[in-house]
């Protein structure tokens, strides 16, 4: 146990409380607003709590008008398909990079590493034209395909895990006559599950929150939750207290995921960062 002076302990709490205030102050008026009536919103300060905390009118209205439920379902379908492909691909690439030496390995590694620095935007001018040419714009497939790519953070997380899975396991299987395919799918892949969970959560949050790609590729018939929220909010006719309620609804899934899986988020990003 490291010795910590009382002064340090006090400073730590003061600092953390101030930091928490910094985080929460901008959020609180949003929560207030979601429970206020339109009249209350225009007549009271944003810092005044709502008179009735059980006024759920705004939430009901937001759900009815904003196509939020449909957008939720679309987002869910996009995420499930693209994350499944992405995670599978990430496992496969990482396994090959970790376990085998082959000609061109350095090139493959560098190609994946460099993507971290290729701005998504810098590629979309032409990718958009490609998607347009194959008629995938305004369908969820354009978004799914773009999300299915293997990212370097994912590779780092997997490599970090594979460091702890001894190669002797593979070698034993090979000598016993197992094929490369069988060794991977039946023996190593199941051992990669914790890293898959981590990647699932990190990418799940990132893709659920992504705005640029779905905003570029999807229109009002098919939209993700972020885009639905944006369209909702962009139409000036929507009262602000309704938008606030819609936002609180949008925060629910992410908070549930977070509260149950907080540990993985911290550990996962940390694992990725350390490997870099």
């Amino acid at each position: 146990m490291i010795y910590e002076s009382t002064l340090y302990k006090v400073i730590r709490y003061v600092f953390l409380v101030l930091a928490s205030i910094f985080v929460l102050v901008p959020l609180i008026p949003l929560v207030f607003m979601a429970f206020k009536t339109g009249e209350e919103y225009s007549s009271t300060s944003v810092l005044t709590p709502p008179s009735n905390w059980f006024n759920f009118y705004n939430f009901g209205y937001a759900l009815r008008v904003g196509h939020l439920i449909k957008a939720f379902l679309t987002t869910a379908v996009i995420l499930v398909i693209s994350l499944a492909i992405q995670i599978l691909f990430t496992c496969m690439v990482s396994y090959v990079l970790h376990r085998f030496d082959f000609r061109g390995k350095k090139v493959v590694q560098t190609a994946f590493t460099l993507t971290m620095f290729i701005p998504v935007v810098a590629t979309q001018t032409l990718v958009f034209r490609m998607m347009h040419a194959v008629k995938l714009v305004n369908t969820m497939w354009s978004v799914i395909i773009l999300y299915a790519g293997v990212g370097i953070i994912g590779i780092y997380i997997m490599l970090n895990l594979l460091d702890n899975v001894t190669k002797e396991i593979d070698e034993a299987a090979w000598i016993d006559g197992a094929s490369f395919q069988y060794t991977f799918w039946a023996i190593v892949f199941p051992l990669m599950r914790p890293a898959c969970t981590t990647l699932l959560i990190i990418q799940g949050i990132a893709l659920y929150n992504d705005f640029y790609i779905p905003n570029l590729y999807l229109n009002s018939n098919v939209q993700t939750f972020t885009v639905a929220l944006y369209k909702f909010y962009g139409s000036m006719s929507t009262p602000f207290e309704i938008v606030s309620a819609a936002i609180l609804i949008g925060m629910i899934p992410i908070l549930i995921v977070f509260i149950t899986l907080q540990k993985y988020i911290y550990n996962g990003i940390a694992a990725g960062a350390v490997k870099m």
Partner: protein, 295 residues
């Protein structure tokens, strides 16, 4: 009959089988990478020298797109806007670092603080934008707080004042993005063996000395990655100024302009701007690689 020495580490698997396996596992992800990252980057470079509209013929027009970029003050000012975001990255990283240092320990309430402090990282751009419209609007919380503190002189029309709007919305990125840096720093700090700190305490080090001589050197690499990500992020700012202001009121950024040019069928120009953004990011990374040699 095979001899043991011929079986080798990979059993009786042949070289051909091995090659096939590697190719099979890499081909689709690599194809994706090629089509959606590398082909567009190279394609952009070519298209940036043409007047392509996104359909029809392409006419080679030399460096006219680039000339346009550098001659129009509006386009130059959008790169200047990025500097505000770069400036905001400094307090963002410092805050994230000290937060990580201070939370790295065991004490009561640790998980509650961890939960609160990670909140902004979980929210999407539309949510963050709405939160900060409420915060910065004329009758919003910032002005209400200032009035409550009897600092009426400091209240402003934050989003309408041309001098204040960019620093105001750039400061949002501190709130929005510090969480990512914080988790990365925190993760890196956890890899430092506690023996180092114990030795430091025995030697009579102060907390600041510990940070200076143990924490910072130990997580130098992660620090640099975060700096690089912040720099390359500030040139790619999009969501907050786009959602909050639609790039109006002098809040245009290169990425918003790329998107608008795409919608206006000026793909050649959008490509030139994309190339410029890419080159800037590339320069930043090269500098980083030169500054921090692999350990």
């Amino acid at each position: 009959m095979l001899k043991i020495s011929e079986i080798g580490k990979e059993g009786r698997r042949s070289k051909r089988e091995r090659a096939l396996f590697i190719i099979l596992f890499l081909c689709l992800p690599l194809l994706h990478l090629l089509i959606f990252s590398y082909v567009p980057i190279i394609g952009n470079f070519i298209v940036s020298f043409t007047d392509w509209k996104g359909f029809g013929d392409m006419k080679f027009i030399g460096i006219r797109n680039y000339k346009k970029l550098f001659s129009n003050t509006e386009y130059i000012s959008m790169f200047k806007n990025c500097l505000w975001y770069l400036l905001a990255a400094i307090p963002q990283l410092v805050f994230a670092f000290f937060l990580a240092v201070i939370i790295n320990g065991k004490f009561r309430g640790l998980n509650v603080f961890k939960g609160i402090l990670i909140l902004p990282y979980l929210l999407n751009g539309v949510i963050v934008s709405t939160i900060f419209i409420i915060f910065f609007q004329n009758n919003g919380s910032l002005n209400a707080i200032l009035e409550g503190l009897h600092l009426n002189g400091l209240t402003h029309k934050w989003l309408q004042d041309l001098k204040l709007v960019n620093p105001a919305i750039a400061s949002i990125s501190i709130w929005r993005y510090y969480g990512m840096n914080f988790i990365m720093f925190f993760g890196a700090l956890q890899t430092i063996p506690t023996e180092l700190y114990e030795a430091a305490v025995i030697d009579g080090c102060t907390k600041m000395q510990e940070i200076r001589y143990i924490s910072i050197p130990y997580i130098r690499k992660v620090l640099f990655i975060n700096i690089i990500l912040s720099i390359s992020g500030s040139i790619q700012v999009f969501e907050i100024p786009y959602i909050m202001m639609n790039g109006s009121n002098g809040t245009l950024t290169p990425v918003i302009q790329i998107q608008q040019s795409m919608y206006d069928n000026r793909v050649g120009f959008a490509a030139a701007l994309s190339v410029l953004v890419f080159v800037i990011v590339l320069i930043v990374i090269t500098l980083q690689r030169l500054l921090v040699k692999d350990d």
